[in-house]
Symmetry: C2
Subunit: 221 residues, 2 copies
């Protein structure tokens, strides 16, 4: 049954606000029409304060979170948008001369949890993906280059090293290649995260690409 016909039939029986809720939920990624109905009925069944709490959490997050004006990481909104700084950029103890470039805020969190990096970040908010029509202009690449070209855009510190911490995937590698070309003529030291055998894994189960990386990147002990 086509979606419009299904909607018309449902509309005949569900109250309009319920139809609207199902439609809105079905727009979320990974949530099909069936799951959207199940979630809608769940929200109609729980105590009203629970549903309203989710409702306000969504509105709050959308209204009070802004990209950090330096690195595009998620940040609580400051007194005004121009002063919004994320927790990392606001921390004066971080080494602002070293920028680690990640695809998304979740990657930043994962890296932060190691406690191994004392520099700052730059969040691209995606990766170059020709198939999905995402080009460099859709990412925060211009902001990254501005930080390197002008210390003023990097809270007053000149950038010495850029660490590419993109995913070891086709798209991540493509993005790294593009950034490497842009950064090469700016005379800044450029590194990327090491590739090889994941700690705790077994060599016999590693695939060819992992083994190839491990051989190519072998180090003296």
């Amino acid at each position: 049954m086509p979606a419009a016909a299904a909607r018309a039939q449902r509309q005949a029986a569900y109250p309009a606000v319920v139809v609207r809720l199902i439609d809105e939920l079905a727009r979320l990624p990974g949530i099909g029409r069936r799951s959207a109905e199940r979630l809608a009925f769940h929200l109609l069944k729980v105590p009203p304060e629970d549903a309203l709490s989710l409702s306000s959490a969504i509105a709050d997050a959308r209204q009070k979170v802004r990209p950090c004006r330096v690195c595009s990481n998620l940040a609580d909104i400051g007194p005004d948008a121009e002063h919004t700084l994320c927790a990392v950029c606001a921390d004066a103890r971080r080494d602002r001369a070293t920028i680690m470039v990640v695809e998304q805020p979740r990657d930043l969190i994962a890296l932060e949890q190691t406690g191994m990096f004392r520099g700052v970040y730059h969040v691209l908010m995606g990766r170059v993906s020709p198939l999905e029509g995402v080009g460099p202009a859709d990412l925060t690449t211009a902001e990254l280059l501005a930080r390197i070209d002008d210390p003023g855009a990097n809270l007053g510190t000149a950038v010495k090293e850029v660490v590419l911490a993109l995913n070891p995937t086709l798209e991540g590698d493509g993005t790294a290649l593009f950034l490497a070309a842009e950064l090469a003529r700016r005379g800044v030291k450029l590194t990327r995260l090491a590739r090889g055998l994941p700690a705790g894994s077994q060599l016999e189960y590693a695939n060819k690409a992992v083994l190839a990386d491990a051989i190519e990147g072998r180090r003296p002990i």
Copy 2:
């Protein structure tokens, strides 16, 4: 890592409103922590009006939908709570002497889409499930019995037949058994939906319970 520790670590890096949004989304059924994060980032990425539209759809549905005062089906809230009637109960052409008992509003919709039933419904809002601690008192059984005992509670019409349209599952059958016992001494005609081979299926793939139902319920042609 225990949830509290995970939350503390995340809190160190995500803005508090984002943590709250992830926590709220993770409370939805079938949404794990990972999916909740993915949904939260989706909501932070879409145009603000899209996120606010979902937020208001949730609040609206919770505030403007009430159980129908007769059958407990979902209904748009009336001028006041006592006057809330669902679309089926409000329709004077329906045969109010025949009540079909279903577990949830979704079942009602599925049955309505056949266009085969001209009576009215009663939505139990669940089924008796000892394992989940759901007893008859947690359902709208009292309201159903009231409709049968007092025509005043059934919009002025005396009930002649009750059709049990519960799921053909262990819990649905248990609920039917309980209702049958309650209804037996009320002198109302009691029926249940037919069981047998699902239309369009193949006999060789039907399981034992389906075949047993089909044999037991065989009809002259």
